[in-house]
């Protein structure tokens, strides 16, 4: 392994993040606060409790997941798309590195950024609601896995995209709806039976459910299934990335 290269990519990518640290920090704080004002205070005051948890607290895991997923995707996809766009990818292709080193560098940096934002949102939430985390280690593990797997997914999007529109297409058209319909703001049990069944085809449901379980000890789907889902998704993305580098698809002429 060329760890020197992994480190260089990671440091270089993080530098971009630190250049825009204030934006990276302030925007999630503001948007989380807004969610709490709208869902927590305005709507939540009429909902009372979901499964024995105050509505304000109930939406925290979903809110974190929402941001972590979109941030991981956008950071990772931009991270690899930009060198393609401006042509600096030549250096990556001519360097003594293999696909794993490139992926660890880029995906690691994107996941770190997403994790940072997840933690910021968690801290902001604690200002609004009384939060208890029943299984802190499971919570951290779930958040980490989500950061990594969605950064991987974003990395694939970044390689696939041939223009800036395509870069936005999948996050906007697929990921955001899936997250919103994945039980971020409600429990699956609140849906009519037919929708409960349909929802089970949404992979994001398993992630949010598992993450919520780490907070409150209750879940829409069994926790084992959640773990399986995220492990499966990570594996799928890894295989895809491995294939991409093996064939040189959209990166090597």
């Amino acid at each position: 392994m060329n760890w020197q290269a992994v480190r260089s990519i990671y440091v270089f990518e993080m530098a971009r993040f630190f250049r825009t640290l204030m934006q990276s920090f302030i925007s999630p704080v503001i948007s989380t606060s807004l969610y709490f004002v709208v869902f927590g205070a305005a709507i939540g005051s009429r909902i009372d409790q979901v499964d024995g948890v105050s509505y304000g607290a109930f939406i925290v895991p979903g809110l974190i997941m929402l941001s972590v997923m979109t941030q991981a995707i956008s950071n990772a996809s931009f991270g690899i798309y930009f060198p393609k766009f401006i042509g600096t990818i030549y250096e990556l292709l001519s360097a003594p590195v293999n696909f794993l080193e490139i992926v660890i560098g880029y995906v690691g940096a994107a996941a770190t950024k997403a994790l940072f934002i997840g933690v910021v949102i968690l801290a902001t939430s604690a200002l609004f609601v009384d939060l208890q985390i029943q299984y802190p280690f499971a919570m951290i593990a779930f958040m980490l896995l989500t950061c990594v797997s969605f950064a991987l997914f974003g990395f694939i999007i970044g390689i696939w995209a041939q223009n800036f529109e395509q870069l936005q297409l999948i996050p906007l058209l697929i990921v955001t709806p899936l997250v919103f319909l994945g039980g971020s703001f409600y429990s699956i049990s609140m849906l009519p039976p037919i929708w409960q069944t349909i929802t089970l085809f949404n992979p994001v449901v398993y992630l949010i459910s598992g993450f919520r379980w780490a907070f409150f000890g209750m879940a829409d789907v069994p926790i084992g299934l959640s773990l399986l889902a995220i492990a499966g998704f990570t594996a799928l993305c890894l295989i895809a990335v491995w294939r991409i580098f093996k064939t040189g698809w959209r990166i090597r002429k």
């Binding site: 020197q4 401006i86 042509g87 090597r252 002429k253």
Partner: protein, 309 residues
């Protein structure tokens, strides 16, 4: 001398069937400067890109320092520095960071003293904290060279280093190349400026339509292919070359005031003596004589047109 870079029957065929390289074989010796000369689309960049790993060859093999570029890509690529043709740089990055990045990417531990030396040699040191976008075009090109040198490569590829730069900078670039050669770096540069190859290369390869037409010592090439021209200035202008001199295939130039005679320096007889004698008997008097060695450019044009050996 041992070849540091060895290319064997390299073919690159694109999916559409276009053959960018059709069986290139080439050996490059340690410490030399080889100029690859060829028109646009000849396959120069494809050759470099394949050696460096940016494109994959269809068949054939390449070794750098004995390491195969496919099976031993880590070792082969570590030895190579590449300066691409296009200015591909991250506009918001600072010079020193992008150079550090390159060094690390090639697996070398941090060494700011070495990077300082490189940046100073390229007159970039006082720009080290500037953002790339603040630099002029010439400076950006130097940054590309600094990046390529950041990991102390033994073989340096310069893909049209002076395309679109002014004369001043071109001369600067040649000086840099000469300095690198002096420090033992092997340099392969592509260019379509013949004077560039003539000025700095030890050997010259001519490439056209994906084929390497020849590789030769620059001087040998000039001598071997060299045609000389003798210009005879006449005291009085004539309207046509006299029939008596038809065998010499003379060219009438300068509105009839001068005759051009082309001859091969390799020949036993150049034919000059008899020409001068015949000239006198044809009743022409000469005012002056001059000879001119043909340049690489003439050779090149001849080769690419396909009528030379």
């Amino acid at each position: 001398m041992a070849a540091i870079l060895s290319v064997r029957d390299l073919v690159k065929r694109y999916d559409g069937g276009f053959e960018a390289l059709s069986g290139v074989t080439l050996d490059i010796e340690k410490g030399e400067i080889l100029a690859l000369l060829g028109p646009n689309g000849a396959g120069k960049t494809t050759l470099i890109s394949t050696i460096c790993g940016i494109t994959e060859g269809t068949s054939g093999s390449v070794t750098v320092g004995g390491h195969d570029i496919v099976n031993g890509y880590r070792d082969s690529r570590r030895m190579i520095g590449l300066v691409p043709q296009e200015i591909n740089l991250e506009p918001f990055e600072r010079v020193i960071n992008t150079v550090r990045f390159s060094r690390g990417l090639f697996g070398k531990p941090k060494n700011d003293a070495y990077l300082e030396k490189v940046l100073r040699e390229l007159s970039l040191w006082d720009k080290k904290d500037s953002r790339i976008m603040e630099l002029s075009g010439g400076m950006k090109r130097r940054v590309l060279i600094a990046k390529a040198l950041s990991h102390e490569p033994e073989v340096l590829f310069l893909d049209e280093p002076t395309a679109g730069v002014d004369v001043e900078l071109r001369k600067d670039m040649w000086k840099i190349v000469a300095g690198l050669k002096a420090s033992g770096t092997t340099i392969i540069l592509t260019t379509h400026y013949i004077e560039e190859a003539e000025a700095i290369a030890d050997r010259i390869g001519v490439i056209a339509k994906g084929e390497l037409l020849l590789v030769e010592e620059k001087q040998a090439l000039l001598t071997r292919m060299g045609q000389k021209q003798l210009q005879i200035d006449l005291t009085t202008a004539i309207e046509a070359v006299p029939d008596a001199l038809a065998a010499y295939k003379l060219e009438l130039v300068d509105t009839g005031r001068a005759l051009l005679y082309s001859y091969d320096t390799r020949g036993e007889r150049t034919g000059i003596t008899s020409l001068l004698a015949d000239l006198a008997s044809a009743g022409l008097t000469m005012r002056d004589l001059q000879t001119k060695q043909s340049s690489l450019e003439d050779i090149f044009v001849g080769l690419v047109a396909g009528d030379a050996a």
